[in-house]
């Protein structure tokens, strides 16, 4: 069961080093860290796994670290925002994919799922290829939808790379070689958004893997 702690600490060198030392000592696995710094104070979010049984001792040891102002338990982002679907490409088409995905995610989230739809309208082969590759470095992403009228070249290479790393990719039916590289090709953008959500929702019966390389 993932859990999370938020540490308010002085913005001084080595704070993260001291705190991670405590986690090592308690054999806690850090799955995600985020830092915000403002006005001489840093807030550090730790998403953690393991060691819950000794949580009181962990909190005690963290509070002993010099420079620590506050340590609190907080809801895990994985529980609040859950799985992420990323939609990228041209604004007109990204908008319609998002509409379909958001409406469908609503239906699943009401039944206890946690699915967020994240989007970025982008233009240009290099910018899109970089964004596709960077998806692997975003937390909690399960599926990528590419929404545009023509995509190929370096974007296709990037799609092949992220698919090898286990990410599902849905492409709109478009010009260029990206549809050939995707798991699934869908013509209607609203339908593409709906299918993207169905593919990642535990509350859905749709198995994207059984649809591999199909076109709708």
């Amino acid at each position: 069961m993932p859990y999370a702690l938020i540490a308010t600490v002085s913005d001084q060198p080595g704070m993260l080093f001291q705190l991670t030392k405590v986690f090592v000592e308690h054999q806690v696995n850090i799955t995600h860290i985020d830092l915000h710094t403002a006005g001489g104070v840093s807030e550090i979010l730790f998403e953690l796994a393991g060691g819950e049984a000794g949580l009181d001792r962990i909190l005690e040891d963290l509070r002993k670290v010099s420079g620590v102002q506050r340590i609190e338990e907080t809801p895990s982002l994985a529980r609040v925002y859950g799985k992420r679907i990323i939609v990228m490409g041209g604004g007109a088409q990204v908008g319609f994919v998002a509409m379909g995905a958001i409406a469908e995610a609503d239906r699943h989230n009401i039944r206890g799922e946690h699915i967020s739809i994240d989007t970025i309208p982008l233009v240009g082969e290099q910018a899109l290829a970089a964004a596709v590759r960077a998806v692997m470095r975003l937390p909690r992403v399960k599926l990528l939808v590419l929404a545009g009228a023509i995509m190929g070249g370096e974007i296709t290479t990037a799609v092949e790379e992220v698919r090898r790393n286990g990410l599902y990719v849905i492409s709109l039916n478009m010009a260029g070689t990206v549809p050939d590289a995707a798991d699934l090709v869908v013509t209607d953008p609203v339908q593409a958004g709906v299918m993207a959500v169905m593919a990642v929702a535990d509350t859905a019966k749709f198995d994207l893997m059984r649809q591999l390389k199909k076109r709708y």
Copy 2:
């Protein structure tokens, strides 16, 4: 200028501790970290500031750490995905806010901005209040749009908290007390999305702060 490194390391206790030690020694400020672990290997993304001049030495010292398989420079997520606007609430309205925001972000991103629109359809006072509060712990978020037909109670308290922490909040014109707590109230959801993007875009002339507490 932010920069980023990606470290491929053995999934063993203390890796993060050893790596952050190197950053401390070189007086590098860590602004964001993300970890993914699969098949006994962890990929750790470090978003960094400072110490660029000694980057070769930093890379050398990181590569000396036991368990490190690869250290590479990578585009900073801040450069690829940029500023984030989060839209949350009821699916129908979140969808239309997203449409407006995505279309407007497209116009700014073409001129060199990097704005992403992230959404989550959610139901219920407690779930929404938790998601509003958790926005402060997400990286790169500049503005929150609340899209629904009625929001109040604990959600309003959460809105007041995040506004005190410097986050801008736009609310649709709706029942409940959330509109009174927001910076700006907009009736048309597409317009709310467009205004949200204008408020955070450096390429726009619209100053949200001058619109404080206005209703459209």
